[in-house]
């Protein structure tokens, strides 16, 4: 099986050969994901696994896709979206121009959810949604805006629970088992690879959403990423995290005030 020493060797390879730094990812998560991939791909031993990763660029892509978790959904945690709808979007509406960053957007379901909220508030035209992820494969899915029909029932329920009053199916058209979201929803999205462990800030935003991404990082990297977000947010802008993530253990916490009990913070200074 895969030992901690093996994981250390793989992390060094990834950094020196490809420039991906996974050293500050949660060790518990890496152990689990790497062991899972090793078993899934039926390697005969660690040497074979390592060789494949070092020499095969296509396998690197698979490795990144499998090590990072790409489970997401539209209007995930509907109560969170309800708060965005009722408390955050009306404030954003007062700005001449709205910039939003979805950091670690995976296959984009939450970016489409956000665009729908903005469209329903008649704000999409003056908004830009930057959506980034470390993984080019999932960004391709996000860019296409095609999602499985089998998920739409759940998404529609989430949408309604988030306070949506339109017919959710009016936002997409389906063919066979897939649904394509209409272009007027995706027109203000900009997709790009961005590595939170190594890349810098690229703009100033009114709202940054980074949901269930920090849980895969260790505390040190969490703090670095939160500092990166902090430097990308203007005063009175918003930061949104996943339902069990917190600023509590971070060095930026004193600069932010949480909205009620939702995982949305407003930058005060």
């Amino acid at each position: 099986m895969i030992s901690d020493e093996h994981i250390e060797i793989l992390l060094e390879d990834l950094l020196t050969i490809y420039g991906y730094d996974f050293h500050y990812y949660s060790k518990a998560s890496l152990r689990r994901r790497i062991t899972r991939l090793y078993t899934l791909d039926k390697f005969m031993g660690f040497t074979e696994f390592r060789h494949r990763l070092r020499s095969d660029k296509n396998y690197l892509q698979r490795f990144i896709e499998e090590i990072t978790v790409n489970v997401t959904e539209m209007f995930r945690d509907p109560g969170f979206y309800k708060t965005l709808r009722e408390q955050v979007i009306p404030i954003l509406a007062t700005k001449p121009f709205i910039r939003i960053w979805h950091a670690g957007c995976s296959s984009g379901e939450e970016v489409y959810s956000m665009a729908i909220l903005l469209k329903e508030a008649n704000l999409l035209q003056k908004s830009l949604l930057y959506a980034t992820d470390i993984n080019p494969g999932v960004l391709e899915t996000a860019r296409k805006g095609i999602f499985p029909l089998s998920n739409m029932k759940q998404y529609s329920e989430n949408y309604i629970a988030s306070g949506g009053t339109k017919d959710f199916s009016s936002y997409y058209t389906c063919m066979y088992d897939r649904c394509l979201f209409k272009e007027d929803i995706s027109t203000k999205m900009i997709f790009s690879t961005h590595n939170l462990t190594s890349d810098a800030s690229f703009n100033e935003f009114d709202l940054i959403l980074c949901r269930n991404v920090l849980i895969y990082f260790d505390k040190e990297l969490q703090d670095r990423v939160l500092t990166l977000f902090d430097s990308s947010l203007g005063v009175l802008s918003y930061l949104a995290l996943g339902s069990k993530e917190t600023l509590k253990f971070s060095s930026v916490q004193n600069k932010y005030k949480q909205l009620d009990k939702d995982k949305i913070w407003r930058k005060l200074v």
Partner: protein, 192 residues
């Protein structure tokens, strides 16, 4: 990979339960001495919506502090922690916990196997795992890993479980160290 000295970690008890386990959990928690020297983590299969109800309910049964886990929370002795619904719960070398939103395991998130396996990597012989009532086979594979790592495995006596399938699976496939009734379990835990 850097190892925090295992000796600095407190002992950890993880109770995994599914259908019919709540009653046993409440009973156990209400009978625990407030002087226990371990952290108690409860990993329970439950609906997404039941978020904070369980911690509220447990708080009424014990004077020990009860916490709904957030990411990177630090484990402290004499404290009860509840795994949030819809996340897997993992254990870090530094005594903190991480949450994980990856695929369900045994149709479950949180997965009991997932937590048992992750905790065993870190806590080794300082880990005690308990598997309660349920109608799912989660936990049986985890027991094997915990045993291999030197930890202790305890299955609820199936005759006392509302849904005996889960502890019975573990007994059949992973021969746990102890098979205890809820009363015996309380007695066992209160010795630590």
């Amino acid at each position: 990979m850097e190892k925090a000295g295992v000796s600095t970690l407190y002992s950890l008890v993880i109770m995994g339960g599914s259908a019919g386990s709540l009653e046993v959990i409440l009973k156990t928690v209400s009978a625990l001495k407030t002087t226990i020297g371990f952290s108690l983590v409860i990993v329970l299969h439950r609906k997404k919506t039941s978020d904070t109800l369980l911690s509220g309910l447990l708080s009424t049964k014990t004077n020990l502090p009860v916490r709904e886990i957030e990411d990177k929370e630090i484990l402290e002795p004499g404290t009860i922690y509840i795994a949030p619904p819809d996340y897997h719960l993992l254990f870090e070398d530094d005594g903190t916990m991480s949450l994980d939103y990856s695929e369900k395991v045994n149709y479950s998130r949180p997965g009991i196997d997932v937590s048992f396996e992750s905790a065993s990597e870190v806590y080794k012989e300082k880990l005690i795992t308990v598997l309660l009532s349920g109608s799912n086979s989660d936990g049986a594979d985890g027991f094997k890993i915990v045993k291999r790592g030197g930890g202790t495995t305890i299955a609820q006596e199936p005759a006392t479980a509302s849904f005996p399938f889960m502890p019975q699976q573990a007994i059949d496939y992973s021969s746990p160290d102890f098979i205890l009734t809820p009363d015996e379990l309380v007695e066992y835990l209160n010795r630590f």
